[in-house]
């Protein structure tokens, strides 16, 4: 009994002291991201991309020492909020980043930016935060959620498809995806289907799809749902007759390994691709491969760019973030060599950037990857920028 009490006391003591000690002058950056659950690899890539940028300049960003605090939100909004609370209240973090999923972002971001923290999103870009609920302390270095769907829609439209079947999970990001697609696709909708979130078997939807006889399919099914869908699509023999299109989310290099042959030839919209021809990207892809032994995904590129953007702003204020206004305007003007080529923040502090459609191919090394197929947009501005008033 006494021993047990002792253990409890020690545990508590360790807990209290467990907030790690960091060097006093380093700027703390809090990263709330998803590392566990089946979507954990997304956060892992964002974190690894971000860390790569720090490691390349030996623990510094923009010449300023930084400490990266990472914690796993387990894809739960409540947990994300709790970690953000801890970063702010215990660690005194002023700059945060890392959130993968829009629902976590919607729970965490509005509160932290109100509390005076600068949040730079390396992935999630829900429409509310780009439009009505935008905030001067909120930046996004990835995209507004609709962008990649819009690019795919634009491509499908230009490629001359006239009867497209579209499907997405029955949740807000799914609705946004189909809305984004339809913003640029002008033809007929052969069918619009919302599936159960987390659904694994699409046999029923595929049967209905076949019966609708579309000339192309657009789908947004992130993570494992997408893998299941693509595999089952190929098994139903549909990939031979009806081309499949979608946003990049189901076609990153790590998912492609799980989908395999079934994905070859699929057109997908993305702001980045490993074969993008610019020096920054070549350097990044090579360095990432060397450091982690795998090809980076777009998430890794976003993590890397986010680190560079923060670095540029830190450099401009000489690592002094006591004046948040100065840091904020430095970030807004941040100039850095983005791995995706052109990059600047628009009026709502979301990227103004080129967006491409990529095609899935089998690489020379036998692994599946994407190559740029066509540029869909140049200096694209998201649809919500005009709604944003500070």
């Amino acid at each position: 009994m006494k021993r047990f009490l002792l253990i409890m006391i020690v545990t508590l003591a360790v807990l209290f002291v467990s907030s790690p000690v960091y060097s006093a002058d380093a700027v703390k950056i809090g990263m709330v991201t998803t590392l566990s659950t089946k979507a954990g690899y997304l956060g892992e890539d964002i974190r690894d991309g971000f860390k790569l940028a720090i490691n390349q300049s030996s623990g510094k960003l923009g010449g300023v020492s930084v400490e990266l605090l990472v914690d796993d939100d387990t894809r739960k909004p409540g947990k994300g909020k709790q970690i953000a609370d801890r970063f702010i209240k215990r660690d005194g973090v002023k700059i945060m980043t890392g959130i993968v999923f829009s629902n976590v972002a919607m729970a965490v971001v509005p509160k932290v930016v109100r509390d005076g923290v600068i949040y730079v999103s390396p992935n999630a870009g829900p429409s509310a935060l780009a439009g009505k609920q935008c905030h001067k302390n909120y930046f996004n270095t990835a995209w507004q959620n609709d962008n990649l769907h819009e690019a795919t829609g634009s491509y499908v439209n230009e490629a001359g498809y006239e009867n497209v079947y579209i499907l997405a999970p029955n949740y807000p990001a799914g609705k946004d995806a189909l809305a984004g697609f339809k913003r640029f696709y002008k033809g007929n909708i052969a069918g619009e289907v919302y599936t159960k979130l987390g659904q694994s078997d699409y046999a029923a939807e595929l049967a209905a799809l076949r019966a609708a006889k579309p000339d192309a399919v657009f789908f947004f099914l992130p993570g494992g749902m997408g893998i299941n869908f693509i595999k089952q699509y190929a098994q139903a023999g549909l990939n031979k007759s009806i081309p499949l299109t979608g946003p990049a989310f189901s076609f990153d290099e790590r998912l492609l390994g799980a989908v395999g042959e079934a994905a070859v030839g699929v057109i997908n919209g993305s702001q980045w691709s490993a074969d993008l021809d610019n020096p920054a990207n070549k350097q990044f892809v090579a360095a990432f491969r060397k450091a982690y032994g795998r090809t980076p995904t777009l998430y890794a590129s976003q993590g890397y760019d986010t680190a560079l953007a923060i670095g540029a702003a830190l450099k401009a204020v000489n690592g002094d973030i006591s004046d948040m206004d100065a840091f904020r305007s430095a970030l807004k003007k941040a100039e850095f060599a983005s791995v995706r080529g052109n990059f600047k923040f628009g009026s709502n502090q979301h990227p103004v950037q080129d967006i491409y459609v990529r095609k899935v191919v089998k690489g020379a090394d036998g692994k599946y990857t994407n190559v740029i197929h066509k540029k869909a947009f140049t200096n694209h501005v998201d649809a919500y920028a005009s709604q944003c008033k500070y």
Binding site: G40, Y41, S200
Partner: protein, 304 residues
Amino acid sequence: MLLFIEQLFNGLQLGVMLFLMSAGLTLVFGIMRVINLAHGSLYMMGAYIAATVVQHSGSFILALLTALAATALLGMLIEVIVLRRLYKRDHLDQVLATFGLILFFNELTRIVWGRQPLFMDVPGWLSETIEIIPGAPYPSYRLAIISVGILAAVFLYLMFTRTRLGMKIRAGAANREMVAALGVNITLLNTLIFGLGALLAALAGAMAGPILAVESGMGESILILTFVVIVIGGIGSIRGAFIGAILVGIVETLGKFALPLLLRLMLPPASADGTGASLASMSVYILMAAVLIWRPRGLFPAHD
């Protein structure tokens, strides 16, 4: 009409999958009176092992056999190490310990296989489609799943009605004390039944591998549907599990297909689709509630 028949096949395919899952679980419930939440983890492990073997050997059959054997062993190991200690305990302890197993196995796959889902291809000789009914090509792999499921059901039926071991198990499910009276080594029998349940779960998992993403946590969604099946079918009854599984499979599949269509007659398309999808995701639970009101012990309770 063509579409309807095709959807029936899809429902049947989900149904036999659920049957493979619930047959083992319902026996474990019935005989050992143990609630095992980690049954989904065995399904997941089956899929992971099969996917790994396919990647290294390229042979689907070999992968299937390895997954069955390895998972059955794993199941027996779990029984010996953890579950055996829980038979006499409260159901609550069983829930928590097996919940702990779920957490452990989910994290284990992440540590061993990494975070991204694993790839498992359909074997070449099953990758084509077959026109079961003219005009509706159907993936031959899904037909293979249906056949395997039905074969398993027939096998179980013969085993329980024709073999001594099977009859003992069935007697045990109906009346636990009876098995002791028959002079059976209960400890061994329990381990074997658990192994059989694990084997069936692995069969479901390995067969699902080529259609679904093999990923951490894949067992939980099917686990809950399995529970619904068992509640509907009645605990401890293989026949109940079969009928319940097919029923749930068909309701789940047809609901997704038919409910939005039905609602479109009354509502504008956008809200009809949304409401239909929501109702469809709740339909099996509504079915379960209805069965419960009618027969609280399920359709075919094995014992009273």
